[in-house]
Amino acid sequence: MVKCPLCGFAFELEHAKALCRQCALSRACPWVCCPNCGYSLSPEGGEGRTGVSASSPRLSGMKAGQRAVIEDIDPTLDAERLKLLASLALLPGVEVVLVRRFPSLLVRVGERQVAMDRALARGIVIRMPPREPAPAEPAPR
């Protein structure tokens, strides 16, 4: 039995491999996808692609006024949303401030402001900085 590091689903490797054979990319693909959540993991039993897990903090869970650095993009996100985050330059290493949570999320990135819904924000894994932001920064608007 293998346990998916993302959703915790336990499954037989052979079962997952059989499902993977239906995928057009399977011939050249070195990964096995979790039958429950689609997360890719190595068939050798190692960790998956990244250290992202279901419990990693997400942008959607930030409080208004909080500052964070994007740690990673959830690899289970669909291709369309991945493309979108890449094109909006919401990428690992970028610093964001959550300006507003309601009615939609509003994120400040440098001089830009980007509004997005919660579903998209859930795909963004963040890391809170260990210390308070420097006082020279203007207060979050």
Partner: protein, 643 residues
Amino acid sequence: MPGTVILAGRPNAGKSALFNRLSGAYAAVSNYPGTTVEVARAESEGREVVDTPGMHAFLSHTEEELVSRRLILAARDAVIVHVADARNLDTHLPLTLQLMESGFPVILAANMTDEAEAAGQTVDAAALSEALGIPVVLTSCVTGKGIGELRAALRNPPPPTARAPMSYPPALESAATEIAAVLPAGIAMAPRLAALLILEGDHDLLERVVTESPSAGAAILKARASAQARLPQPLAISAAVARHRTGAALTVRVVRRTGSRPTRLRDALGDLLMHPLWGGLAAFAVLYLGLYLLVGKVGSGILVNWLENDLFLNRFNPAAVRLAQAVIPWSAVRDLLTGEFGVFTLGIRYAVAIILPLVSMFFLVFALIEDSGYLPRLAMLLDAVFKKIGLSGRAVIPMVLGFGCDTMATLVTRTLSTRRERLIATVLLALAIPCSAQLGVILGLLEGHPQALAVWFTVLAGSFLLVGFLGALIIPGEASIFFMEVPPLRWPLPGNVWRKTSARVIWYMREVVPLFIYVSLGAWAAGRLGVLDTVTTAAAVPLGWMGLPTASAPAFVFGFIRRDYGAAGLYDLHARHGLTVMQIAISTVVLTLFLPCVAQFMMMGRERGWKTAMGIMAFVGASAVGAGLLLSRVLPLLGGASW
């Protein structure tokens, strides 16, 4: 010398403003992403200049991004001017890097330098040019800075670049090289760019390659999988991160911050507009000031009243009738020009006295709203509500534009991400969003009758939400994604407001005057042949069921051809004969829901397919009649007869 100049760049970077500056032509400029949804072409110094819809990256997400990408890839002999926002170079430079791999000469125009300087940022163009290896021009379309320099750069364009000064992670680089080597020749694209796009998940391109050369397909999949095995993140993210890091590093080197950004009143105001309470109140204020006061009171109450009653009905028309009687001996010709449906007495009068003032006021209000940057904020506020009807906040923009012109708005539905959203938005525009001319006339009719206004508003808002909600249940497809860059609030520029308003009014009148004349001609011919009586008598039957007078039949028959013509006819009918309040309520509801105009129908067919367009027409027609019948039964129970 290369022929075409293509202006490309991310949304809301000022491509259209630069296009106007370069060519002297007019493409609409607003302060929200997605103003341009179609390619505009004009001439400058003997060369074609092309304005393109904004695109975030070469990997397209929405249909209008696809338009730009196709245009660039299909070009043969072109210079690309990448229009970037000087305030956010780090976000814009990644696209420069991608464009530099497309095999065209590229010039970077760092635009909006006026705003960048106001925010305490200056760009070192020489250093950036040296780092990138392409010409860099600092421009501002507000002050005109750099336009001459850009023209000079275009006269003497740089050689095409094959590679951007950056590298991707080794796993991506080696996969790209492998893929580029096996790509079939028919792909008509720089091989390295094509290889990178395939690695980033461009399915259309991959499919094209696989159909042309199945053996290449297998090699590509293998290269892609081995790259993925070596990288921790999805390839699309890894590639974007590499470009973004390069862009950010360059920005740090070439942008000097001369001072901290002063906090301004408009920043605070811009933020307030997104507050759930204050933003909501502001939306009502905009509605009240813009629609009710400017269009309703000034447009309909003062301007139309003066033009229609004082000028046309009391002076011009009687004079025209007398003149016709004096000079034209044939009664048929007299009728054609000055009769009941006369080209002058009806066609020109409707266009000039009723439609022109209303449309002008509307487009003025719109230009102000569009220029300020209010629309993205409204989109952010309404996303949650729009999600319930199968749309996202992005659909707020086409919906609001629909109040100006539904035809234009149907085209703008291209900016929505999914087919499902585009279909629902098209149906709602056809059904429940009255266009400016129609709305102006209808508001004029409803003025002073609060009960009728309440009925009209309730039914319209109700059908908008109900049809959207049901549509979301019935129409299959993935849930929509909401994302929108919110630009800073700006004071509208009087020059731009004036140009945009006048360009739209002229465009509208050009469309409407000939049509109104044709309708008058058609009505006259039908009247002569006796067909008109048959049609209006037939139309009078269902109208009678709704409790509407027979005299309203022509308005509905002509409304079929042009909604605004029908609305103007109804206004005229009420002014001359008087309708009861209940009749006003029913007729305004039916006419608002009624079939879209011919232009909108053509646009629906073009954008959504003819079958879909026909289906929408049938649905909308049935809904309008159904709502009318229902109201004629329900309103008397609510005491409508004594209103």
